[in-house]
Amino acid sequence: MTTGPENKIKFSGLEKPVTRAMIVIRLTLSILAVITFYSLITLDYGSVNIPRAVCDTLNNFRTIFIHPFSRRLSIPDIFYEILVTIGLSILITVFSGVIALFLGLLGARNLSPKRVTSAVKAFVAFIRAVPSILWVLIFAVSAGLGSTAAVIGLSFHSIGYLTKAFAECYEELDRGVIDALKSTGAGWWTIVFQAVIPSSATYLLSWTFLRFELNFSNAVAMGAAAGAAGIGFDLFMSSTMYFDLHEVGLITYFILAFAVTLEIIAMKVKSKLKEK
């Protein structure tokens, strides 16, 4: 047995073993960095004079955030509009929640045959991949631009997310409980309503509430982009039609307030979920 120099342990800087994970991380980060630099360089700046634009923006921000007020809309008016937007989110959440409740059953591997679950999961993945604005516009062809299209389109989108969450929720269910009821001779629907849903109820409700928060901001966006009712529409009008930045500021603050409130509640819900 020869112990040549190549067999001696080298202590030149204790190298960590290069793991596959590290290679992937470094590779991904490098690719992303390269892409970022490339796009920043080739970004279409239009005919914009950047320094002036930055100044303008900062001025605008000052107007919006430091001097918010509105001549046109009163505080109760804004409150009402936010309520309308919340109303839209409630509709979206309830509709998508009810449908996802049942669709999720079809998508759960422990409750439905493999072909059905694969089909459902693929279908919802497709729905999720289409951006919400496109869904709304698609339905706007037949329903016209407005609240109806927004509700339907966003419900579709929401179903995509909730079904996945619910199906995973059902799959986590203790198999034994379903077995126990099967062995007494209970039918599928009975097992669903007497065991599956009571056991997953908290989880389902938590996910539904999390989705409500997202649906609210989506509803605002659709008010601006697709003519749905609510505060989003006012935001759109103030900025593009009236150029009243003070009003934009006031509206933004209100939206901010509600969104933050929802976020705080959502965080509490998430920590309860984590406990489970």
């Binding site: 970004l43 516009l137 329903a143």
Partner: protein
Amino acid sequence: MPADIFANRRKNIFLFLAFIAALTTGSMVLTQFDPVNGLISILKAFFWGLSNFYPDVQSLSHITDILVKLRDTILMSIASSVAAAVLAMALALMGSRSTRIHVFFTYFSRGIGSFFRNVPLVAWAMVLMLSFSQSSLTGFLALFFGSLGFLTRAFMETLDEVGESTVEALKATGAAYYHIIFQAVLPSSLPQMLSWLLFMIETNIRDATLVGFLTGTGIGFLFDVYYKSFNYHVASLIVIVTVITVIAMESISNMVRREIL
């Protein structure tokens, strides 16, 4: 009495359902949503979709335009996410329990994160458009501000999970602040943070459509053009291309996640 609990439970379920029904009806009245009209529209949309909303041979000639805009959109999404990530990293390091210099910074970073996250994307888009007009820069900045909020919060949570005890242990060995960050905290949180970054890119590709629609850039704008001119065949092609992109992005992200988490 054994009987009561079932009546009780049924009553509770009934009350819950009644509450939801009331909420729904109230919302319908408030938003002037007509469910009948809604259902009819869904059916109409379905039939319209089958007869109109598919790419035909003619629409394929537009594919180069579409791909160019798509490339712009993807680049914009990635760049805005990465740029936001860099800034968010700094904010998160400042504010996380494990690495902060002072408690004040936690509130500061959390506040900034919450602020940027909760101002709706549309608001950013609208306001920026006033000074930057319809250029990709507007879209980039809008996505940048939106992502900044989300990533700051996400990164802070990740850093918090590393735990103060690790940092404490290293401090006890006399290691300097920057050493601790680069040798312990960052390495353990890097995989999770990369995962968040990928998630942000996925989300931004979707949001870029909305932002593009509002600010006249990218694939969203292109969709608007064809949509408003009733050229549904090309519009459907755009939808398909977007779906493929999103799904591809998700697959790549999941592959990366599997390797690193």
